[in-house]
């Protein structure tokens, strides 16, 4: 409890007054390498003790849940245009739940490693293991969350992180005296299956009139869609489609201009 209180955020610079509690800080997940993951907990706006814990992960890989999930999606605050302060998000998910943003793996955002080679060889496996260690040790710091319902949520490449962490938890629970009460997970625009994601993506581009029939046919006939690295012919077709046929749009929101 002492370290939990040490993590208590009294107030963020430029933050409006709020009634809910918030905490942030580090949990060491690997002493040998000196890897520590950074979290930000915004408790539920009412009756936090009776509400579940929802963990939010952004993807990338390499992107920060503090930057996206917390600051422009589901968190209680938005950052104003001059970054001088914060304003309230009335559709924040902490109206319903206790919301934990985790920057994972080490190297993302404020999460760090003392072994710099970690930044060059981290992947799905280490991320899932470290994130499990984080949850186990975080709950030791916040024991009131032990036995509480836990849900994992996330988007994009967290379509990998979230199910992989859920599986780690299920396996951990199988032989733990203190199981983590995971109830489920929810993911959005989630990276799921290379072949079907890639085939579905070029089909979406064609069905939403973003690319020509010719380019669509060439992509489907040239690309393998299964492996990480496509052939040069396929890669150049992708570039042509994006540069010449999509044109100047925000690919994350196709009817909007890009953020320059």
């Amino acid at each position: 409890a002492a370290t939990a209180e040490a993590d208590r955020i009294v107030s963020l610079p430029g933050q409006p007054k709020v009634a809910f509690r918030q905490y942030s800080g580090y949990v060491t997940v690997d002493e040998t390498a000196g890897r520590a993951l950074f979290y930000w907990l915004t408790e539920a706006q009412s009756q936090p003790l009776s509400k579940p814990l929802v963990v939010w992960l952004n993807g990338g890989p390499g992107c920060s849940s503090v930057a996206y999930g917390a600051s422009e999606e589901i968190g209680p605050f938005r950052i104003n245009k001059t970054a001088s302060g914060l304003y309230l998000n009335k559709f924040s998910w902490n109206t319903e739940v206790n919301l934990l943003f985790l920057e994972t793996p080490a190297g993302v955002g404020f999460s760090y490693t003392n072994r710099s080679s970690d930044l060059l060889d981290t992947g799905d496996h280490r991320t899932a293991k470290d994130s499990l260690q984080f949850l186990i040790r975080w709950m030791d710091r916040f024991p009131s969350y032990k036995g509480r319902d836990v849900y994992l949520t996330g988007e994009s490449y967290a379509g990998h992180y979230v199910p992989q962490l859920a599986r780690e938890i299920v396996h951990y629970n199988a032989h733990s005296k203190n199981p983590i009460k995971i109830k489920g997970f929810m993911v959005g625009n989630a990276v799921t299956d290379n072949y079907h994601d890639n085939l579905g993506t070029v089909t979406y581009w064609w069905s939403h009139a973003m690319i020509s029939d010719k380019t669509y046919r060439q992509l489907v006939n040239t690309c393998n869609f299964r492996q990480q690295k496509e052939s040069n012919e396929c890669e150049s077709l992708y570039y042509y489609a994006m540069d010449q046929e999509f044109g100047n749009i925000d690919q994350y929101n196709i009817y909007a201009p890009p953020c320059n």
Partner: protein
């Protein structure tokens, strides 16, 4: 472009102090996405579908949603992938509603709920915050999204 604001705010020393962040003086600026990690990602599963099958069998509640104006991981990609699970339908395809507007479409399978979010990009809660909050509420209750 709001991530630009984050790049400024979270690099402010007073913000880092208030958040107990960067206590070891990390030798690089805080940034929304680490290029180093992204370019050197070591191992990645070709498919997550085997984990879905294992966790459906373990009885976890699984929801998948998709903002339908995202072209990076678009709704068609997710539908092609989920179709491989060959789950039986328990509530056939229907439009779901939020504040008298079509929030998207949804279908409930044995073991998984799928929903689109109309007009939302890659970061669904950024573009459709009210609809995203409805997703959370229905997910937590384990109930299908509202039909009206």
């Amino acid at each position: 472009c709001t991530e630009k604001y984050a790049e400024i705010y979270y690099n402010r020393p007073d913000v880092q102090k208030a958040m107990h962040a960067n206590t070891t003086r990390i030798p690089y600026k805080w940034t929304a996405c680490s290029e180093t990690l992204n370019r050197n990602w070591n191992d990645t599963d070709d498919s997550i579908l085997p984990i879905y099958r294992e966790l459906i069998a373990a009885g976890l509640r699984i929801w998948v949603f998709s903002g339908d104006v995202d072209s990076v991981v678009p709704v068609t990609a997710t539908r092609y992938s989920l179709a491989q699970l060959k789950l039986s339908v328990t509530t056939p395809w229907y439009p779901w509603y939020v504040k008298n507007q079509v929030g998207g479409w949804s279908e409930v399978y044995k073991g998984l709920t799928f929903a689109t979010v109309r007009g939302a990009g890659h970061e669904v809660p950024l573009f459709k915050p009210r609809a995203a909050l409805q997703l959370l509420r229905s997910f937590l209750r384990g109930e299908p999204l509202p039909k009206s």
